[in-house]
Symmetry: C2
């Protein structure tokens, strides 16, 4: 059997976007989509989509395009979304509360099972359906539910120690909202949600434009 | 004069990470840093850092490394952070409220000036220091304060129309928290904050590992 090339991480990061776009198409009742049409919806070129998907097999049909429902099922399977991954959240300040209420977290694939905070005023309170548990309970809860995923939404100074507890308990994948760079052992996956760096990468372009405009005025 | 090559967007996206890391170093009282040390803190190779910075000039000194304060000032200047960019927020549900309270948004470079929502129950209320304004006021506020940046934190079905209003009013850069792909005219910058796609790109790896473990058990 021919050995399939390992897809680079950047491809894996685009697959969830394809899946989301296909879900929208399905909701709109669209049965087939070309790589061109799919690409236009998510600002990716048609050839990029074809190249990305080729890592995982043959999906489209010449002249017809992709069967939306089938391709979605395939991608969800590739992404491991045929099952629900239990997940915990640490930190229920304003941000953590927004996360608990964010309907996106109740979609396919991930399932919040417990929330933690160390603020004594919050312990025992409910956020949505979840009682706020003390961080001492991270380890037993993670082990009982075989939790592999966690969201870290504590302030920056606490993010590393919370991460250490999660990893020690058995968590393998962390989504971090704190503006830090976490140190984790090999084989632990970390993604960051970072609005400030996203904003600061746009001010670059705005500043360049302003410079150009000023130069044109002076010219 | 030699023409400087235009840095690719991926380089621009890394600069804010360098800046953040340099700020931490400065807080720790560290005066000089090698590209090696800086790289280890942010999981970027030393050669990548040197290559990225070479787009903007010569910064490091052989054997001494980078002057932390000077390099930070340079990068902040490159990113347009020597000035404050006024910014508006549309949508003050749980997420928008977390954004208003997020101290990160009061750092250098961006400055929240107004918040908007269309929920009649919220109008006139204060979130932090900001009164919630009706979305009808987007255009006059954006024009009065020369606002070029906005955060969109409304539910997905409203994100495109809010974006249209913002762009029409003069906003050029949008940070979008809604799980959609916005359609914007050329020359408008959009970045997405998207926890679900980040999570789903990690389930891929967890699922692969589980597969491997199951195969090993069967073998």
């Amino acid at each position: 059997m021919e050995r399939i090339e390992i897809p680079p991480d950047i491809v894996i990061r685009r697959l969830p976007l394809y899946a989301r776009s296909l879900r929208y198409l399905l909701d709109e009742g669209i049965q087939f989509v070309s790589s061109q049409e799919l690409g236009e919806r998510i600002n990716v070129t048609a050839s990029q989509i074809r190249k990305d998907l080729s890592f995982f097999g043959e999906f489209g049909k010449q002249g017809i395009g992709y069967d939306v429902a089938k391709l979605l099922t395939h991608i969800e399977h590739i992404l491991g979304l045929s099952q629900d991954w239990p997940m915990v959240l640490v930190g229920v300040g304003h941000l953590g509360q927004a996360i608990v209420h964010y309907e996106g977290f109740y979609t396919k694939g991930v399932k919040l099972v417990a929330i933690f905070d160390n603020d004594p005023a919050k312990l025992g309170q409910h956020i949505g359906e979840f009682p706020v548990l003390s961080q001492e309970h991270i380890s037993p809860v993670v082990q009982t539910h075989s939790v592999k995923m966690a969201i870290v939404a504590v302030p920056a100074p606490q993010a590393q120690s919370v991460t250490d507890s999660l990893v020690e308990a058995g968590v393998r994948a962390i989504l971090c909202y704190a503006p830090v760079i976490l140190q984790v052992p090999d084989g632990i996956y970390v993604r960051y949600i970072d609005p400030i760096t996203a904003l600061h990468s746009m001010t670059y372009y705005l500043a360049r434009e302003e410079e150009r405009e000023n130069q044109e005025e002076r010219a």
